[in-house]
Symmetry: C2
Subunit: 333 residues, 2 copies
Amino acid sequence: MEPNCPTSSNDYAADISSIRQAQVRIEPFVHRTPVLTSETLDSITGRKLYFKCECFQKGGAFKFRGACNAIYSLDDDHAAKGVVTHSSGNHAAALALAAKLRGIPAYIVIPKNAPKCKVENVKRYGGQVIWSEPLMQSREDTANKVLQDTGAVLIHPYNDGCIISGQGTISLELLEQASEIDAIIVPISGGGLISGVALAAKAINPAIRIFAAEPMGADDAFQSKINGRITKLSEVNTIADGLRAFLGDLTWPIVRDLVDDVIVVDDEEIIQAMRLCYEILKIAVEPSGAIGLAAVLSSSFKTNPAYSECNNIGIVISGGNVDLGVLWNSVNK
Amino acid sequence: MEPNCPTSSNDYAADISSIRQAQVRIEPFVHRTPVLTSETLDSITGRKLYFKCECFQKGGAFKFRGACNAIYSLDDDHAAKGVVTHSSGNHAAALALAAKLRGIPAYIVIPKNAPKCKVENVKRYGGQVIWSEPLMQSREDTANKVLQDTGAVLIHPYNDGCIISGQGTISLELLEQASEIDAIIVPISGGGLISGVALAAKAINPAIRIFAAEPMGADDAFQSKINGRITKLSEVNTIADGLRAFLGDLTWPIVRDLVDDVIVVDDEEIIQAMRLCYEILKIAVEPSGAIGLAAVLSSSFKTNPAYSECNNIGIVISGGNVDLGVLWNSVNK
């Protein structure tokens, strides 16, 4: 049942080799997203910023890279039975789209409280929506039933070597587009994105610093780094609906070893960064997508002497799936 | 007092040579804006669309290209006295920014009813704002007084060879980025943008069709093409605040000869296209910027057999300077 994704030669679930193979595998399907710069934001932050705009990725988020790599790594027999996920957000839409491209079914278990635009994305890409109650237990139970009924393959949204390798292709592109980068700030949730980005970037240039940006109301990665072990929270509370998951056993070792620091910001800072993305960069970003800019604008980052030598900072804008009304209501609270 | 911009060897105010020279002149200063594509919008329109995103240009609009070319074409003595304009919108911000780069004063006459974000752009770029009454006579009188007081050079927003040449650099980039393009849709107002785009594109490939997109409430170009002469309107009424100007004597001959057709859309179509830009392309566009997408979505375009062979269509997204609240209010009327 395991997809035939290259496994790592070291302790991690992916490495630069599996990431380069992912790039070859997914290159016919993904957008090479542009890197935007803004002298206005450079002037506000006192750094040179390079925004890697995964909001322009197919499906509106970076998730398509990993989903595409996972699905195209399946052998034909397994692929034919389809794929399942119980992730509600951008991974679901990405999986549906990648499955559609390969011509296989995608069964998407979605909690009833998921944002409207994300559900619409799943439907637009031909995913078969299967509703569950919001609680994780109900989502997992529903997904398990689908697995039993269909024989499909479960594609985890982040705790998966193929997913991590797919997301890592962002670093390969970004460092080609802006080789002067000396630090990359990446949103952190379950850790699939930052694991791939960190593995690729540090393999290309070990001096590059990798910073996680995390919402205060879901700061499990921050707590995990302090405690030296995966630390889950009893509850999460943040506007950044894409950043509410916890690290997995495959992403944690990479985050533990390769992420230089976790920068925690509150929802107010995220909303302010969303507004700047809209007004200055002219891009539509969801709250999770704006958190990297929020981090570089935060006083904890600006005033920390350890970061003073980070002059060329890549910021991964992870996604842009936000209802216009939600954005407007957010910035006008 | 004339800037030393290359003049054309034919009857027009610019040509491919002056446009190529403009590209060399402004290349150190402008963004090479990305071209975005969307399978969702391709599927809706039944064409392959290439969005040239000048909303990501410095100052948030294509206007910086022309302004930069005009200002860097001035000799040092004339430049030192500064530049003046009585355009309220994106040209004003662009001129202020280009003047700031060259280190010369920019005197910007702005009517009191100009959109807030455009005034803020002018101020952010160091322009000296001089308020006038909204009527054109007051704007011109105020600008003339500034000219007399300062000896600065008036830079017209579109009826100027240097401006037209600067805007034409969009075609040079676009046809490098997507050489399969067989048609380009361009917003039309005073005609500076479409003149440059048409001159460059048709010089590179005479088979490329050039379509103007114009709001129904300010359709002077449409009327002018029918009448065979510049036709001004007694009043204009459109949400597209950047498309309310009339053709000038330098842009009209180019529009008359090189623009294949004018596609007229109403404000409702513009607003719907803005929403699609936000939700699907994930870009912030002002009403004028969305009109090209509105045109390709319009029933008059879709059902016209003459356009059925336009399969690869470049769409110039001219600018993204829109207040978030204005966007939200527009799509929720």
